[in-house]
């Protein structure tokens, strides 16, 4: 039987996906701004964040309205819960992309440091995780979500590696300290984006299977 609030659910889902697309865009541009030392692009990402914030508020309102009007149960309830947890996660990821861009602008005022190979790898890994997290949500694919969660360990390892490389630079030359610290921050930001993707994926598993796998040992997930 068709239900009129299926349309509401579709619309909220659509809104979330558009927000997700914007977040992915921000991540991609923050990475390019970093690699190409592009201050203009970085500023653009920072500006666009307001729009993402507005979308977050709109999704929140629509979701609360849905709860008030239809008192969702079962899969609907899990969908609403998932939306309400995914949206702030996406917003935080966008904020992190914004943070990356702020550091990029600061970095661009200083001489360029030797490249750290692990950092672009980490950035791409985080970007891929966010994209796959959103894909798993769209397709309701718990297996994909689980594979994203497993990738988090790789992201953590890359963060650690890039930190070690940057530490070496700082030890080599005190003048490297300032850019190296900013790059360390950037590494941390990408790692947290990966964490955000992981959180989204945990909610996707909940949505699909009704199982809360957060904070639980891997064999139960």
């Amino acid at each position: 039987m068709a239900r009129h609030f299926d349309k509401d659910i579709e619309e909220i889902k659509d809104l979330l996906l558009r927000m997700g697309a914007k977040v992915e865009h921000s991540i991609a541009h923050s990475i390019r701004a970093l690699l190409e030392r592009d201050t203009l692009m970085a500023e653009e990402v920072i500006e666009r964040d307001d729009e993402i914030d507005r979308m977050e508020v709109e999704i929140d309102q629509r979701t609360i309205e849905l709860i008030a009007k239809m008192q969702p149960a079962a899969v609907d309830l899990r969908f609403v819960a998932t939306i309400m947890k995914i949206t702030p996660e996406l917003e935080r990821i966008a904020d992190l992309a914004q943070d990356v861009c702020e550091r990029v602008i600061e970095l661009n005022r200083e001489p360029q440091l030797k490249p750290v190979t692990q950092l672009p790898q980490l950035a791409e890994s985080a970007q891929k995780m966010v994209r796959e997290a959103l894909d798993s949500f769209v397709r309701g694919d718990a297996d994909l979500a689980r594979s994203v969660i497993r990738q988090d360990d790789i992201a953590d390892a890359l963060t650690e590696d890039s930190f070690r490389a940057l530490l070496t630079y700082m030890l080599e030359n005190p003048r490297n300290i300032s850019p190296a610290i900013r790059l360390t921050f950037i590494g941390k930001y990408f790692e947290r984006m990966a964490d955000g993707a992981t959180n989204i994926c945990e909610m996707v598993v909940y949505l699909v299977e009704g199982k809360m796998i957060r904070h639980s040992p891997p064999e139960e997930s």
């Binding site: 039987m1 239900r3 008192q71 969702p72 149960a73 079962a74 899969v75 609907d76 309830l77 899990r78 497993r150 360990d153 790789i154 390892a157 299977e209 009704g210 199982k211 040992p217 891997p218 064999e219 139960e220």
Partner: protein, 280 residues
Amino acid sequence: MTALTMQPIRSNRTEVPLMNQTTNDVASATPAKIHVQDFDFYYGDVKTLHGINLDVPERQVTALIGPSGCGKSTFLRSINRMNDIIVDAHADGVIEIDGRNIYESGVDAVELRRRVGMVFQKSNPFPKSIYDNVAYGMRIGGLRNKRRINEIVEKSLRRAALWDEAKDRLQDSALALSGGQQQRLCIARALAVDPEILLMDEPASALDPIATAKIEELIYELKDNYTIVIVTHNMQQAARVSDRTAFFMLGKLVEYGETKTMFMNPQQKMTEDYVTGRFG
């Protein structure tokens, strides 16, 4: 590398079957008051209940939900053998209360109904005074002691949250009460014979939201002392008042479990379609 470090953690955890243990604890803390096994019911040649199996835990609220004609009311009425009065109907299988099969020969349905009270969809106070309504069950049970009856009438009305509204008009006709009050009177009347189990057949379906809220609040309080089985069409009501929910469809028990599971993560597609309103 990462996979290797995860391995020992995994095996460690499997030694502690956390989930199973909790369920067992819950089960032993609240033993089954009503045990139903392979229960069938027939109206004439028509089989309306098919092999029902379920355990109703003591001092909890169990909700029976399902579309109209799914057999939930028939099942409810089988628990106090109210179906006995239907000509041509018969039951197969076992319903045990405290381990005794109530369909066994030698079980007196009249005696059984004193232990298993029932509240109906349409409030049905007798055309007598409020007092006489509550005292009815005691009187036909042979209680004659006036003081004792007074005590129990007051206690029952208090339990049914009607005392404050009714204490000054006990001799008034019960028919002068409002719909919600009448239903609470019927609950008080059922409580007065001191049953162990209370069956409720859509007790709030004819009431306005405030009266409904009062009945729901009452059910919540009563479960400290009684095992309650409630049939409801209102899914939110089932979600609000019950600890466990059984979903019936076409005379079969489709799914039975903790209410929160039934409403957050039902295992059967049919249950999910029903609780989300996709059914049909």
